[in-house]
Symmetry: C2
Subunit: 792 residues, 2 copies
C-alpha cells in the first residue's frame, strides 16, 4: 500500500538506526581448496547465504560489522514488514481514541496513586489491521509505534518462521517442517543471536567515558573534578547523540529502584516483554502480600520470646536457689564459662521462642494466607493480561529445531499439507523412563540424607567419647552438614544434566511443552532435595523408635539437641537455609560475573584492543558515530547471557515460598526473611537486567504458566505438613495423647481445606472493574472501528 513507503521514509531518518537483532558468526576467508576440505564450514556458509537472501526478501536491512574474527550482522526490520507481521499474528494494539480513564475516587486510590511509578495510560485495543491503521495510537510516529519489546518479538517471529528448505534437500536425514533461525543456530551456522539494549546515558560505559572526559577537562582547566558534576540531561556529547529519546532504560532504572513504590510494570513490560513483566508483577505481589505475615509473625515471635524469657527466668531462679554455692568459681575461667553459658542460654531462649501455644494459630493463618495470595494473584494476573492486551493472544509457536518427527501424516489444520509427527506411544515410553529416573534420583537423595544421618549418629555414639566437645561437634554436626551439602550439590548437578537430556529425548514439538516438562522434572527433584532433611527433623529425628536409627540398636539415637526439641531445631535449620540460599544466588548472579569481568578487563581484551598497533590503521576508517556503534555492539556481545532468567528466578522464589508454606508453624520469622530477600532481589535483578547482562529476548505470555500449579501444590502440601507438625512436633501438641493428635490433624486439615475452598469459590477470578472495563472496551472498539469504516 502507498501509505507504507511514506512511513518508511520517515523511519529512515532516525539516527542511529534501531537495531532489532544481532547475528554473529566466526568470519573466515575461505578459499576454494579449503572449502572442499571442510564441508561443514562450507555447508554453514551455504545456509547463511540462503538465510540472508530470505532476510532481504522479508525487508530486513542488514548492516555488517567485522570485529576481530567475528562478523556481526545488525538487523533492522522495516516498519512496513513489522506492520504486516503484527497483522498476521493478530497483535492487539491500542486505539488512539480509546483512552481508559481511571477515576481516582477513594482514599485508597489516592494512596495507590502516590505509590505509583507508572505514568502510562491504558488504551482499549483491537487486533492490528492495515485496513484502518490510522485508528491506532501513534500511527503517525513509526519510531515509537511499536514498543521496544514488540520490535524484537516481531523480528524474532519473522526470523524463526523463515524456511531455508529446498525441495531437493528433502531427502536429508532430519525431516522437519521449518528451518528458520533456531535451525541455523542449532546447526552452528551462526554462533550467536541476540538482541541489544537501547543505548542509554545510564550505561556504565557511558558514565566511565564521561568521567574520564571530565577529568581531562578538569585537569586542563585546573578545576576540581567531582562525580556529582555529571549532569546527564544537559551534557551534549557523543553519547547523548547516540542515545535516542526517550531514554527508556534510564527511565526504567530510575523508577524501578525506588523500593518504597510500586514497580513500573508498564515500563518493564514495554521494555522486556510480557513474560518478564509477569514474573516481576508476581514477585512484587508476593512482597506486598507478605507484609501482613511479616507483622503477624513478628507479633507471634515477640510473644514467644516473652514467654521464653519468662520461663528461662523462672528456671534460672530455681537453679540459682538450688545451686548458689557451686557457681562460685571466680576468675577469668569463671567469666568465660559464664559468658559461654549466657550465649548458650540466649540461643536456647531464642530457639524456644519459635515454639509456643500460638504457633498453631500462626500456621492456620499462613495456610489461609497462601490461598488468599494465590487468589489475589489470579485477579492481578487477569487484570494485567487484560491491560496488556494479551488475554486473547495466541501466537503460533513454531516447532523446535531439535524436534524429530518420524512419521508423516496429513496436517490436521491445513489438509493440503503434510506434517511430521512423533508417535505418542514412543513419547509415552520416554515419559516412563523420565519418571523412573526421577524416582531413582529422589531415592538417591533419601539415601544420601540417610547416610549422612547414619554417619553422624555412629560418630556421635561410638567415637565422640574419645574426643573433646569441639572435635565432636566438628566431626558430627559440621562434617555432617558439609557432607550433606556436597551430596546435594553433586546430585543436583547430575540430575540437572539428566533432566535436560531426558526432556530432549522426550522430543517435544514446541518450546513451551519442552520448558514445562523440564520445569516439572526440576521442581519435583528440588522438592525432595530441599525439603527432605527438614521433613526428617520434623517427623523422625526426635523419635527414632525402640531400635534406634535404622534399627542399629537402642543406643543409636538421633535426638534434637538439648530438651530434644525438634521444633527449635527445625526453626534454626530453616533460618539458616533461608539466609544461605539467597547469599549463594547473589554471589552466583552478581559477584561471579563481576569477578569475571574484572579479570578480563585487567588481563587481556580491553587493553589489548586499544594498544594493538596492527588494528590502529583499520580503526581509523570508521566515523565516530559508527565506531560508537561497533564498540557498543562489542560490549553488548561480551556481556554475560541471562539464560532462562524466569526459570531460575521462579525456582528460587518458589523454593522460598515452600519454606513459608510447608513449615509455617515452626518459624514465624520466615515471612520477614522472605520479604527482605525478595525486596533485595528485585533491586539487584533490575540492575542486572538493565546494565550488567545481555538483554533477554521478549516473549509474550498471559500468565506465569506452570508455576501457578506448583504454588497451588505447595499450598495444599503446606496444610498437611503443618497439621502434622502442630500435632506431632510442636510443644503445643505434646499436651495431647496420640489419639487426640490424630484428631487434631484431621480437624486442622478439614477446617483449612474447607475455608480454602470457600475462598476459592467466592472470590471471583477477575475483578469486577476489569470485567466492566472489558465490556466497555467491546463497545468502544466496535464504535471506533465502525466510525473508521464509515469515514472511509
Amino acid at each position: 500500500p502507498p501509505i507504507m513507503t511514506q512511513i518508511e521514509d520517515n523511519s529512515g531518518e532516525i539516527r542511529p538506526p534501531i537495531i532489532d537483532y544481532v547475528l554473529v558468526f566466526e568470519y573466515k576467508e575461505i578459499d576454494d581448496e579449503e572449502e572442499n576440505k571442510d564441508s561443514k564450514l562450507n555447508k554453514a556458509k551455504e545456509r547463511r547465504t540462503k538465510f540472508e537472501k530470505l532476510m532481504a526478501e522479508e525487508r530486513i536491512k542488514v548492516q555488517i560489522e567485522d570485529i576481530g574474527n567475528l562478523r556481526f550482522l545488525l538487523l533492522t526490520t522495516s516498519f512496513s514488514r513489522l506492520c504486516e507481521e503484527a497483522e498476521h499474528v493478530k497483535l492487539e494494539m491500542p486505539l488512539a481514541e480509546g483512552r481508559i480513564e481511571d477515576p481516582v475516587t477513594g482514599c485508597w486510590d489516592r494512596l495507590k496513586d502516590k505509590l505509583r511509578t507508572d505514568t502510562e495510560d491504558d488504551f482499549v485495543s483491537a487486533p492490528f489491521t492495515l485496513q484502518t491503521p490510522d485508528v491506532f495510537k501513534d500511527w503517525d510516529k513509526p519510531e515509537i509505534f511499536f514498543r521496544p519489546s514488540l520490535r524484537q518479538l516481531l523480528t524474532n517471529h519473522i526470523l524463526i518462521n523463515l524456511d531455508i528448505t529446498n525441495k531437493k534437500d528433502i531427502d536429508e536425514d532430519e525431516p522437519m517442517s521449518k528451518k528458520g533461525l533456531p535451525y541455523l543456530l542449532h546447526k552452528g551456522a551462526y554462533k550467536d543471536a541476540f538482541t541489544i539494549h537501547t543505548p542509554s546515558i545510564g550505561d556504565p560505559d557511558c558514565i566511565e567515558e564521561r568521567e574520564e572526559r571530565l577529568k581531562q577537562k578538569a585537569a586542563e582547566t585546573g578545576e576540581k573534578f567531582s562525580k556529582k558534576s555529571i549532569d546527564h540531561d544537559t551534557i551534549e556529547d557523543d553519547w547523548s547523540k547516540f542515545c535516542r529519546k526517550p531514554d527508556e532504560r534510564q527511565l526504567l532504572n530510575d523508577t524501578w529502584t525506588k523500593i518504597y513504590k510500586f514497580q513500573p510494570m508498564w515500563k518493564i513490560r514495554n521494555y522486556f516483554g510480557e513474560k518478564v513483566g509477569f514474573y516481576f508483577a508476581w514477585s512484587g505481589q508476593l512482597i506486598t502480600s507478605l507484609i501482613f505475615p511479616v507483622v503477624f509473625g513478628l507479633a507471634i515471635f515477640s510473644y514467644g520470646l516473652y514467654l521464653s524469657i519468662m520461663s528461662y527466668q523462672v528456671e534460672k531462679n530455681i537453679v540459682s536457689m538450688n545451686a548458689t554455692t557451686t557457681n562460685s568459681s571466680s576468675g577469668i575461667a569463671g567469666l568465660i564459662s559464664d559468658a559461654k553459658e549466657l550465649v548458650f542460654d540466649l540461643l536456647d531462649v531464642i530457639k524456644e521462642s519459635f515454639d509456643n501455644e500460638v504457633t498453631p494459630f500462626f500456621a492456620l493463618v499462613m495456610c489461609l494466607w497462601g490461598t488468599l495470595f494465590l487468589e489475589a494473584w489470579k485477579r492481578k494476573n487477569a487484570t494485567l493480561a487484560y491491560e496488556w492486551d494479551v488475554d486473547s493472544f495466541s501466537m503460533s509457536e513454531p516447532d523446535r529445531p531439535q524436534f524429530v518427527g518420524t512419521h508423516e501424516k496429513q496436517d490436521p489444520v491445513n489438509p493440503e499439507e503434510t506434517m511430521w509427527y512423533y508417535p505418542l506411544t514412543r513419547q509415552a515410553g520416554w515419559f516412563l523412563t523420565s519418571g523412573s529416573v526421577l524416582i531413582i534420583m529422589i531415592l538417591m537423595v533419601f539415601i544420601s540424607v540417610a547416610s549422612v544421618i547414619l554417619y553422624r549418629v555412629i560418630m556421635m555414639v561410638d567415637y565422640c567419647q574419645y574426643m573433646s566437645a569441639v572435635e565432636c561437634v566438628l566431626v558430627t554436626t559440621i562434617a555432617g552438614s558439609l557432607l550433606n551439602a556436597i551430596s546435594i550439590l553433586i546430585l543436583g548437578r547430575i540430575y540437572e544434566f539428566l533432566a535436560a537430556k531426558l526432556t530432549e529425548w522426550e522430543n517435544h514439538r514446541t518450546q513451551t511443552a519442552h520448558d514445562n516438562a523440564l520445569i516439572i522434572k526440576l521442581f519435583a527433584f528440588q522438592f525432595a532435595n530441599c525439603y527432605s532433611s527438614l521433613f526428617y527433623i520434623a517427623f523422625f529425628r526426635g523419635d527414632p523408635g525402640e531400635n534406634g536409627v535404622l534399627g542399629l540398636g537402642p543406643q543409636y539415637k538421633d535426638d534434637c539437641g538439648r530438651n530434644n526439641n525438634c521444633m527449635s531445631m527445625l526453626s534454626f535449620q530453616i533460618l539458616i537455609l533461608m539466609i544461605v540460599k539467597p547469599v549463594v544466588k547473589f554471589s552466583k548472579d552478581i559477584i561471579l560475573p563481576w569477578l569475571k569481568e574484572l579479570f578480563r578487563n585487567r588481563k587481556c581484551c580491553r587493553k589489548s584492543n586499544k594498544t594493538d598497533p596492527v588494528d590502529e590503521t583499520k580503526v581509523k576508517i570508521y566515523t565516530p558515530q559508527r565506531q560508537k556503534i561497533r564498540d557498543y555492539i562489542e560490549a553488548e556481545y561480551k556481556k554475560p547471557k541471562l539464560g532462562d532468567f524466569t526459570l531460575g528466578e521462579y525456582t528460587e522464589k518458589v523454593i522460598q515460598y515452600g519454606y513459608l508454606m510447608l513449615f509455617a508453624s515452626s518459624f514465624p520469622l520466615a515471612p520477614l526473611i522472605a520479604f527482605f530477600t525478595h525486596l533485595f532481589d528485585i533491586v539487584t535483578d533490575a540492575k542486572r537486567m538493565l546494565w550488567w547482562y545481555r538483554r533477554p529476548l521478549s516473549v509474550i505470555a498471559d500468565n506465569i504458566g506452570m508455576w501457578y500449579g506448583i504454588l497451588q501444590f505447595l499450598n495444599v502440601a503446606g496444610v498437611v505438613s503443618n497439621a502434622f507438625i502442630i500435632a506431632f512436633t510442636s510443644q503445643w501438641g505434646k499436651q495431647y495423647n496420640e489419639y487426640e493428635k490424630l484428631w487434631l490433624v484431621i480437624l486442622f486439615e478439614h477446617a483449612v481445606i474447607a475455608v480454602k475452598l470457600i475462598f476459592h469459590i467466592t472470590i471471583p477470578d477477575m475483578p469486577r472493574s476489569v470485567k466492566r472495563t472489558q465490556r466497555r472496551e467491546k463497545y468502544q472498539v466496535s464504535r471506533i472501528l465502525h466510525e473508521a469504516a464509515v469515514d472511509k
Copy 2:
C-alpha cells in the same frame, strides 16, 4: 439489503405459518365508563397496545385468534428480522462448505457408529453476518435456515428487549431500564406467553382423531379396524397437511426412545435448545459411566452374599448342633415360626452381605470413579460446546423485570447512558439474612431428626414393654419414619417458600444470578434434609455414649437392630430412599398430570366446548385449516407447564448421585438402582417433553452451570464420608483400634485426594481431537470468509 425481500417472499409461501411465540390475555370488551373505573385493566390494555405497536415495528407478524374469553396472539417473526437479530447477538452459524469429516477408523469408532442415532453432520461455523450471508449453510432455504429452537430463542430475545417506556413515564415508582415482555407478564398485561410444539403426526390428539376416522370408515365399509393399520407416512389427511416436513418431533421421538443406543443429542439440541441438550447429555453420560460401577458393585455384592451365606450356614450348623431338641415343635404354628425365621434369616443374610472386607475397596473405586466421571463430563461438555458452536457465545442478558434499582449512575459500558443499580452493601445485608435463615432451617432439620429419634427411643424403652412386638414396631419404627417423612415434607415446603422469597429480596439483576442463588440455597437445604438421618445412622446411632441418647440415661440406647450392625441398617435405608424417591417423582410428573387431564376431559372442557350451541355459529366461520390451528393452539395452551425443567431434574439426579458418592462403601448395589432409574427417567422425560407437556423455551447455555460445582463438592464430601464409614462403621474397620482407625481415615483421604488431583491435572479439559478440529476450524473459516470476500 435487496436480497432480504426476496427471501421474505419465499418464506411467505410456507403454509401453515411457523408460529414462533404465543401471547395470551383475557379479552374483555371494555366500554369507556368501565375503563375509567378499572384503571388497572385500562393500564394493561394501554401497555399491550404499545407493545403490539413495537412488535409491528420489529416486523413480527401477529395473527389474532379468540377462543373462549381468551385472546391468543400468534407471533411469527419475519426471516429478515431473525437474521438481523442473529447478526446482532453474533450467533455462530454453520458454513456451507465447512463440513467436518469424522473419520471412522478403529473398532471402537465402528461400534460407536452402530450405537449412534444422530445423522447430523458437524459444520465449522462463524458468527452470522449479513455481509456475506451466502457462505452459510441452507441460506437458500429460509424455512430451515434457523433450527426450531433458534427461531424461538431469537424471537424471545427480541421480545424481552423491546421497551415500552415513555419519556413521560420516567417518574413512575419503579425505575427500570427496559420494559419488555417480562415486564408485561409481571404486570399482568399478558396472562401467559409460551412457545408451541411443531405439529406432528405422532401427537396423541392426531392419533386419536385418526383412529376415530378409521373406525368410522371401518364401520362404513364393514372392514375390521385395527390400530396397526394406521400408517403415518402414507395417509393424506388434514394432519399430514398440517404437519411440516421433516416431522422433527416424531423423528426425535423415534430415535430418543431407543434406550440401547446413544441419545440423539443433535436433534434434542435442535429442537429444545442447548440448556436442555446439556442436561440430557449429562444424564446420558452418567448412565453410560455407571455401567462400570454397576458391574463392579454386583461383583462385590455377590462376593458379600457368598461370604454371608457361608457364615450363616456355619452359624446355623452350630445352632442346630446345640439345639436339635428344642426345635421339634411341629404343626402349623411350628411351620409358620420356621418360615418367619427363614425370612428373617434371609433378610439378615442379605443385609450382612452389603458389608464385607472388600467394601473399602469398593468405596475407593467409587471415589475415584466420581472424579473420572466429572473429568469425562468436562471433556464431553467441551466437545459439545464446540460442536454446538456455543463455546464463544455470550448473549446479553436483560435485567429481570422484578429487579429494582435504587441508585442511578453512569452506565459503565456506554458512558452516555445512565443505569439504575442496587448497592452492594444492601445486597450483602440480604445475603446475610438468607444465610441465617438457611442455618436456622438446617438446625430445624436437625431438631426434627433428633426429636423423632428421641420419640422412638423413649417409646422403645419406656412403653414397648407393655405392648406386643407388632405394636412396638408400629409405634416406634413405623410411626417414627412417618413423623420423619412429614416433618421433612413440611420443612421442605416452608423452606422452598422462604428461599424463593429471600432470593427475590436479594434483588439480582439477571435471571442467571437469581437462579444460581436459588439453586445454591435449595441444594444446601436438600443436603441436610436428605442426608442427615443417614449420617446419624452411620456415625451416631450404634454408639450413643455412656449416658445414652442425649444424655437421658444409660438405658436409653438407640442401637442398629440385631447385632447392632449400623452398616446394614444404613444400606437398607439407602435402598429404600433410592427406590421411594423416583417413585414419588414419577407419580408427580406422570400420574398426577394424567389424572388431572382425565378429570378435566371427563367433566367439563372438551365436551362442553363441542356441545356448546351458542358457539356453534361462530365456529363455522373458520376454514378447516384455521380451525385446526385454533384447536392445536388451545390444546397446547391446556397442556401442563414444564416449569423449570432442568432445575427439578438436576436436583433429583444430584441427590441420587449424593447417595452413590457419600455412602458408596455401604451399599454396592446403589449404582445398579441409579442406572435403572436414570434410564427409565430419560424415556419418560422424552415422552413428557415431546407429547404431554408444553414446549419449554429454548435457552442457550455452554455448560451445566452451578451443578458442576455441586457435583464436585459431593465428590470431595464423599471421600471424607467414606473414609469415616470404612473406619468407624464397617465391620472391616472393627478389627482396628481407635488410633489405627484414625490413621485409616487419614491414609484413605490423602491417598484418594492425591489420586484425584493427579487425574485432574493429567486429564486435559478438552479432547485432543477437539483442539485439533478447533485449530482446523479457525483455518477453514478464515479461508472460506476470505474467498467469499474476494468473490464479491
